[in-house]
Symmetry: C2
Subunit: 232 residues, 2 copies
Amino acid sequence: MSIIQNIKIAVDAIVFGYEKNQLFVLLVKQKFGDTKNLWCLPGGFVLNNESLTAAVTRELREETGITVNYLEQLYTFGDKIDRDPRFRVVSVAYFALVDPSKLTLTTITNTDAEKAKWFPIDQLPDLAYDHREIIDTAFARLKNKLTYQPIGFDLLETEFLFSELENLYTTLLEKNIDRRNFRKKILGFGIIDETDKIISVKSGRPAKLFKFNEKKYRELELKGFHFEIKFN
Amino acid sequence: MSIIQNIKIAVDAIVFGYEKNQLFVLLVKQKFGDTKNLWCLPGGFVLNNESLTAAVTRELREETGITVNYLEQLYTFGDKIDRDPRFRVVSVAYFALVDPSKLTLTTITNTDAEKAKWFPIDQLPDLAYDHREIIDTAFARLKNKLTYQPIGFDLLETEFLFSELENLYTTLLEKNIDRRNFRKKILGFGIIDETDKIISVKSGRPAKLFKFNEKKYRELELKGFHFEIKFN
DNA sequence: TCAAAAGTGTTCTCTTTACACCCATGG
DNA sequence: CCATGGGTGTAAAGAGAACACTTTTGA
C-alpha cells in the first residue's frame, strides 16, 4: 500500500451484430497513439467517478454512437502485464449485442475514434493489443450462452421469422437443426408470441412474424424454467 | 487520457472449503486501516509488475498460507464507486476451492492480516466493504457450476466416499437426491475410478473409496462430453 | 440383535430424435 | 408451372424419475 500503484483500468466492448447469416463485430480505428493504423475494440479508460458499466456505455456512445440491447461483463484481462506496450493496463471486457437496425452506423464526429466499422467475425483485420484474443473469448461466450439463455433474440429484430432464429443458431453454432424439432421445442417453451403479421420475402411461402415475450420468460424463470437448446 | 486516473486495482479471493456437510469461507481480519475490526476476504492491491492471478495467489499465501486446488476469475466489482470508503477501488474477485486438508490453518506470521479463519457460509460475521455481496455472488456461482462442471471433487479429498459426494450436492444445492439414480449417473460418466480401498466410518457398512479421474474427464470433454447433473 | 449407512435393478414416463410431404407465394 | 422457402405429425429410442430391500459392520 505504501507503493504507488501504477496500473490503469480500461473497459472494452465486444459488440456483436447479426444480419443475413453473418455475425459482425464492431471495431474502431484510433486517431492517435501507437495503434493509429490498427483496428481495436471500442473502449477506453475509466473515469475516476464513473462506474465500469457507465464507462463502457459512454465509450460506446462516444466512439460508435451505439446503444446496445444486451450488455454483460465478460472477463477482466490483466494477466499479461505488457498487453498494452505503453504501460500496464487492466481491461474489463464487456460483451454486448445489438439488433440489425444498429448495423448501419451513422457518421461519428467525435474526438477519440477516427471511425467505427462492422467486420464479419471471420474477416477481422489485424487488431491492436490482445483484442483478437478478447474477441475469441467473447465469441466463445456468445456461442455457449446461446444454448442456455435466450439472448439470440437480442441479435434479431423485435419481430422475426422463425427461419431467422433457426439460421442464427445454425450459422453461429455450425450445427444442423431439424426444423420441426427446433420449432416444436422453442414454441413449447411458451416464451415466443406469434404476431398476426405475415410477411413475404423474395420467394417462397410468406411466413409469420414472432416476438420474444421477455415478461413471460422472467415469470417462467422464477418458477424454475431453464431455457436450453441442445445440438447433436 | 490527459486526466490522471486515480483508481486502484485489487484482487479478492473467495475460498470455499467443505467438510462434514458444511461449506466454509476463508476470511481474514486486517491489522490496520478502517476495517480493523471487521472480517474481509483475503486480497489486496495488485503490484505493478504482477499479473492478476499472481496477485491472488500471493495474497492468499501471505494472508492465509493457503494454496488452492481450483481458481477462476469470478467477477470484477467496480460499479459502486464508493465500495471502498477510502478511495476508488476496482476489485477483481477470484473464486477458489480447497480440499478438507486445508481447513486447519497453520499459524500465520505475516504482515498484512492479523488472522485467517474459516467461517460456515451460513454464519458469516459482519464483513467489510461489499464483501458480503461478493461472497453471495461466489456462492451462487459455486452452486451453479456444480451442476455442469466436475468441481465438486476439488472440495473433497482425493479419495472420497460416494456418500460424501452425494452429501456435497444435497447440502449445497438443498435438493434431495435419489441415491441409486445419482450413483448410476455419475458412475455412468466414466470419470470416477473405484479404488480397491474400503473404509469404515463410525457405524454402518464400510464403503469403497472413489477417485476423480481428471485425465479421463479431459479426454471425454474433447470428444464432446458434458458433465451435467440435474435436480428436480 | 439393533442401528447405521452402503449397495443394488427394474419399470414407467417423458424427452429427444428421426423422418417427408404438402402449402403459399412470386416470377 | 416451377422454384423457393414455410409449415406440420408420428413413431421409435433414449434418458430421467420413481421406487424398497438386502448387506456389512460396530456397538
